[in-house]
């Protein structure tokens, strides 16, 4: 299990075993939604806030 720092609060965030690029994980420290942008090494970025639209 790898981990990476939250880009907002700096807390260490543990990635699930089978984490995939694109997956969204929540920071346990500040609650920020983080996008897994790399798995080896683990890297996180703030997940874009995408308004969900009915005509998707």
């Amino acid at each position: 299990m790898s981990e990476a720092d939250c880009v907002t609060c700096g807390a260490a965030v543990a990635l699930p075993e089978d984490a995939e690029v694109g997956e969204i994980v929540d920071c346990g420290g500040c609650g920020t939604e983080l996008e897994v942008v790399g798995v080896d090494p683990a890297e996180l970025a703030e997940a874009p806030d995408l308004a969900e639209d009915w005509g998707e």
Partner: protein, 280 residues
């Protein structure tokens, strides 16, 4: 709510008719109806989709159509670059050419346009989408989809005043300059709003049912906020999108919307005559 023959006179607002796209649906009835309405002097814009035909063509080319579900449960096509090419083949290519040919054979002076032509339909690109896959929330990027927000009204009115029947299909032109997938009901709603027109959404059911399991519960009309809220509550799945489209059309300036059955013998005239669910 019946409009009877007054519905086809030249003093009526432009009529925007959204139909399915595939010839398999047999649009002969609606084509005759369009010819009738146009001959009576009313301006008409036809809008079509054709998503199932896109799936058929993808499969004929050995590619599996991909649908994703958003965290709140909305399902939709994920349009990668290759799918976008097939989308253009099927909608503005095969289906639009067939529909324009059939309309012209019925005496309708149709001109086919995609939302890309002349920048007819533009709006923001939505290249990333949140999806739910195997219980995981993910960001999927590379979606070729967009939200129709603006219309080249000059192109549309110039064609209408020259006596043409614009026959419009997705894709639209996104703000990043790419051609992208857009919901055809929503494109039709936007055109109806822009033209201050009346929108007829033809579909494969009679209209909106209070209880989708019970055909006796068809909602005839919704003219008050409370009635509209009841329609919104009742609409499920694909029907909820049509109701959303109706809402966008009306809030943008359309004079009225009817959701009615494409399978009736004269489906467009029937809708104009009061069949289906009227919202205004």
């Amino acid at each position: 709510m019946s409009e009877s023959n007054a519905a086809v006179g030249p003093d009526q607002p432009p009529l925007i008719v959204k139909i399915g796209g595939a010839r398999a649906v047999d649009p002969a009835g609606v084509i005759e109806d369009v010819a009738h309405v146009v001959a009576a002097g009313r301006e008409v814009v036809v809008v079509h989709g054709g998503s199932t035909a896109v799936d058929d063509t993808l499969e004929a080319m050995g590619k599996e159509p991909e649908y994703v579900t958003t965290p709140s449960g909305v399902s939709g096509r994920f349009t990668d670059e290759e799918t976008m090419g097939v989308f253009s083949m099927v909608l503005p290519g095969k289906l639009n050419t067939e529909l324009v040919t059939d309309l012209r054979a019925a005496g309708v002076n149709a001109v086919g346009l995609s939302g890309v032509d002349g920048g007819l339909v533009t709006g923001p690109r939505k290249s990333a989408v949140r999806v739910l896959e195997d219980g995981k929330k993910k960001i999927r990027r590379g979606d070729h989809a967009g939200k129709p927000e603006a219309v080249n009204a000059g192109l549309l009115s110039s064609l209408l005043s020259d006596g043409y029947v614009p026959t419009v299909s997705p894709p639209m032109l996104a703000d990043d300059g790419t051609a992208v997938n857009a919901d055809a009901d929503r494109v039709a709603a936007l055109l109806a709003a822009e033209l201050g027109g009346e929108l007829v959404l033809l579909t494969d059911v009679e209209g909106v049912y209070a209880d989708p399991e019970d055909p006796d519960t068809l909602i005839d009309a919704a003219s008050t906020p409370a009635e509209f809220a009841a329609v919104e509550d009742a609409a499920e799945g694909f029907m909820s999108r049509k109701v959303h489209a109706a809402e966008e059309a009306l809030s943008g300036g359309a004079t009225g919307v009817v959701i009615s059955d494409a399978g009736l013998r004269k489906p467009l005239l029937a809708a104009l005559d009061g069949h289906g669910t009227w919202i205004d």
